[in-house]
């Protein structure tokens, strides 16, 4: 029943979204305008990721609109809460809104999988800064996003083995326990991480739903197995609950996670228990990849950039360059993306293969929580 209510609210929101964009466009018919959308979690547990990415889109559009008066670019924000169930209710509205010619996002794999049928039917091109599930670009998968889905980051097929290596760096005789959150992202990354572990180091696995409150059974199994490295593949809100309960239960080993946990919110929520946590992500901070752009970002937006900001700016710029080149419809934009050859915010080459993956996929970065901050350490080799 609650879900039905959520669905109704989301449909109403989607309708408002369509009407709002239409009204805004009609009111200023004299100026040529196009709309791109950002889709990701703007409320909910994972909202920080979405807010960071949305701000990065705003930054890129702000810069573009300031110097390109011929075609004004509007932005529509679509909140899917990072959840497939919510994405199912907002994606139809975005797909039906013909004013939207491209989407930056969705941010999360599960929400992308849920949205794809609508965007494929509407031929709405999309490039994600952070959806890493391998099935999205696998032609044999039902989740295959061709022809509309593209992404900048490396997939979990790279992130998993990198996580397996990064997580055990402090242990001479690692014993690794993997906990996933049952989401498409979490289970996929867990499988690739397990594959990447050295023989004899896997101590066990558990799959805990993403609304788990009590991890005590999992923690008892972890402690009984003699584990000294716990890897969590899920998102930061649950990751904070797990590490707090682990430390309370006396677990003193290492705690590691993938990009779903790479957020200041994880540290804020877990407090001192987050200290020393090891993370990998197919991203590098904007301040590391392009310090000049970071300085400009701070000047224009009034705050430092967040996770995946660099990738998000890169993607928005792909669309903006297309708009500048006169690609003002979905099909024209799709052709533009497929033929695109450019560079990322960090200066690496960017183009997309037939399946939508980045030909010059970025390296996997290794991070550690130090003094209450995520610190990028180095690129992880595996």
């Amino acid at each position: 029943m609650k879900k039905s209510f959520n669905v109704a609210a989301a449909i109403a929101a989607a309708g408002a979204l369509i009407l709002g964009v239409t009204a805004a466009t009609t009111a200023s018919a004299a100026v040529k305008e196009v709309t791109i959308a950002y889709q990701g979690p703007l409320t909910g547990d994972a909202a920080q990721t979405g807010i960071d990415e949305l701000n990065a889109v705003k930054y890129a559009i702000k810069k573009y609109n300031a110097t390109n008066p011929a075609v004004k670019v509007n932005l529509v924000a679509i909140d899917d809460q990072g959840a497939g169930a919510v994405a199912l209710t907002v994606a139809p509205g975005a797909a039906a809104n013909k004013k939207i010619i491209a989407i930056v996002g969705p941010a999360f794999s599960g929400a992308t999988i849920a949205s794809l049928p609508y965007y494929k039917a509407g031929r709405l091109p999309m490039i994600s800064p952070s959806a890493t599930n391998v099935t999205l670009t696998n032609p044999k998968s039902v989740n295959y996003g061709y022809p509309v889905f593209h992404r900048v980051p490396s997939t979990d097929a790279f992130q998993g083995p990198a996580l397996a290596v990064w997580a055990v760096q402090n242990q001479k005789s690692p014993k690794v326990y993997i906990v996933d959150d049952k989401s498409p992202y979490g289970t996929g990354l867990a499988a690739f991480t397990k594959k990447g572990l050295a023989a004899g180091t896997w101590a066990g696995s558990d799959s805990t739903p993403d609304d788990t409150k009590d991890f005590s059974a999992t923690i008892i199994k972890i402690k009984a197995s003699g584990t000294n490295v716990v890897i969590y593949t899920g998102y930061y809100s649950q990751a904070a609950i797990l590490i707090k309960q682990l430390r309370t239960a006396g677990y003193t080993g290492d705690y590691a996670a993938g990009d779903g946990v790479l957020s200041q919110s994880f540290i804020d929520n877990a407090g001192k228990d987050a200290e020393g946590a090891l993370m990998v992500a197919p991203t590098i901070p904007l301040a590391v990849g392009n310090p000049e752009m970071e300085a400009d970002y701070v000047k224009l937006m009034g705050e430092a950039s967040g996770e995946y900001s660099g990738e998000t700016i890169t993607i928005t710029n792909v669309f903006l360059e297309g708009i500048k080149a006169g690609k003002l419809t979905r099909s024209a934009m799709l052709n533009w993306i497929n033929g695109y050859h450019g560079t990322t915010f960090a200066g690496t080459k960017l183009s997309f293969d037939r399946n939508g993956d980045n030909n010059g996929a970025a390296a996997i970065g290794g991070f550690i929580v130090k003094s209450g901050k995520n610190v990028a350490v180095k690129a992880v080799k595996w």
């Binding site: 029943m1 609650k2 209510f5 609210a9 409320t43 909910g44 547990d45 909202a47 809460q81 049952k182 558990d206 799959s207 805990t208 739903p209 609304d211 788990t212 409150k213 009590d214 005590s216 059974a217 999992t218 008892i220 199994k221 009984a224 809100s237 904070a240 609950i241 707090k244 309960q245 309370t248 239960a249 006396g250 804020d268 929520n269 877990a270 407090g271 001192k272």
Partner: protein, 316 residues
């Protein structure tokens, strides 16, 4: 597969009992209302949620504890915990009282249709949870640590923790107090009278509205206490936290025999243990399957729950 159950039996059992006591207290809210009105108060899960929020807010905003502050000790600890518990219980009981007043009383007085109150109960549940969702932007809020989770002693390899012990003993005291109140007090007798035969109770001079309001308030007090213990043990709250915990507590009430206070008690403990054992033995992903298969089997064998109508004396 069962090796973990053998080697970690006491750790698992203690965790199951601590979780079970939270279910017990929430299920009291369901069972009290059902016992009197034969109605499932679906808003009870949200009554629990607002109680948990109240408990968190007292520690965070009244006493200004943060994630980085050192937990209080001694008299200060007792003060913060007492204020949090009182705030949690009072907030939940107030919401429960208002829910009854706004959503159920008029319906009860104007129709004997049993579906209408069920729908308004679901409606109240959604109104409360969606309001909190909007206010909190659907984010989980983490509570500062008030009670240091120190290990008191080790029993057969199981850490006996202060927070778990407080939950278990305080839960037990609240359960016994409620049962005694229902059994021995004048108001409790009124509740039991309405529970057994509403019309006869009215003829005997029992003020029906007063008794029903009291039932909601008492159920709210118990559910609010559950919110307090939940925050102390798990240290986070979220607008939809009541859904899964409320469903579990409702299941506990059904396992024990809904409408029966002792049934809710044993149902809650049984469910807590069952969940923890199932998670340990077959994996957490199989927990809901295992729990509900067992629930179905229990109901097939004992359709009125484990205690059903057998404990008339303690039935609400």
């Amino acid at each position: 597969m069962f090796d973990i159950l053998r080697t970690q039996f006491w750790s698992l059992t203690l965790s199951g009992i601590a979780l079970g006591f939270i279910y017990v207290l929430i299920s009291m809210g369901y069972t009290m209302v059902y016992g009197v009105l034969r109605m499932i108060n679906f808003a009870n899960s949200e009554i629990f949620m607002v109680g948990a929020f109240a408990s968190l807010l007292v520690g965070r905003d009244v006493f200004h504890y943060t994630m980085d502050t050192i937990p209080p000790t001694g008299a200060k600890l007792a003060l913060v915990l007492t204020c949090s518990l009182i705030a949690s219980m009072l907030t939940s009981s107030l919401v429960a009282f208002l829910v009854e007043l706004i959503a159920y009383r008029n319906l009860r007085n104007r129709t004997s249709n049993r579906i209408a109150p069920l729908i308004t109960a679901i409606g109240m549940s959604i109104v409360i949870s969606e309001t909190v969702r909007i206010i909190t932007k659907a984010r989980a809020i983490f509570a500062p640590r008030i009670l240091e989770k120190q290990t008191l002693f080790v029993f057969h390899g199981a850490d006996i923790r202060l927070d778990s012990m407080i939950t278990i003993f305080a839960g037990l005291i609240l359960f016994i107090a409620l049962e005694r109140f229902i059994k021995l007090s004048r108001l409790g007798k009124g509740i039991r009278a309405v529970s057994m035969d509403e019309d006869s109770a009215k003829l005997m001079g029992v003020n029906l509205n007063r008794v029903i309001s009291l039932t909601f308030i008492i159920g709210g007090l118990m559910t609010g206490a559950a919110g307090f213990f939940y925050v102390n043990v798990y240290e986070n709250v979220k607008y939809n936290m009541g859904f899964s915990l409320g469903l579990a507590a409702f299941t506990a009430a059904v396992i024990g025999g809904i409408g029966n206070i002792r049934g809710a008690f044993f149902g809650g403990i049984s469910l807590g243990l069952l969940e923890i054992y199932a998670s340990a033995v077959v994996g957490t992903q199989w927990k809901p399957v295992t729990v509900f298969v067992v629930l179905i089997l229990i109901l097939l064998l004992k359709p009125n729950g484990l205690f059903g109508e057998a404990v008339q004396k303690t039935r609400v």
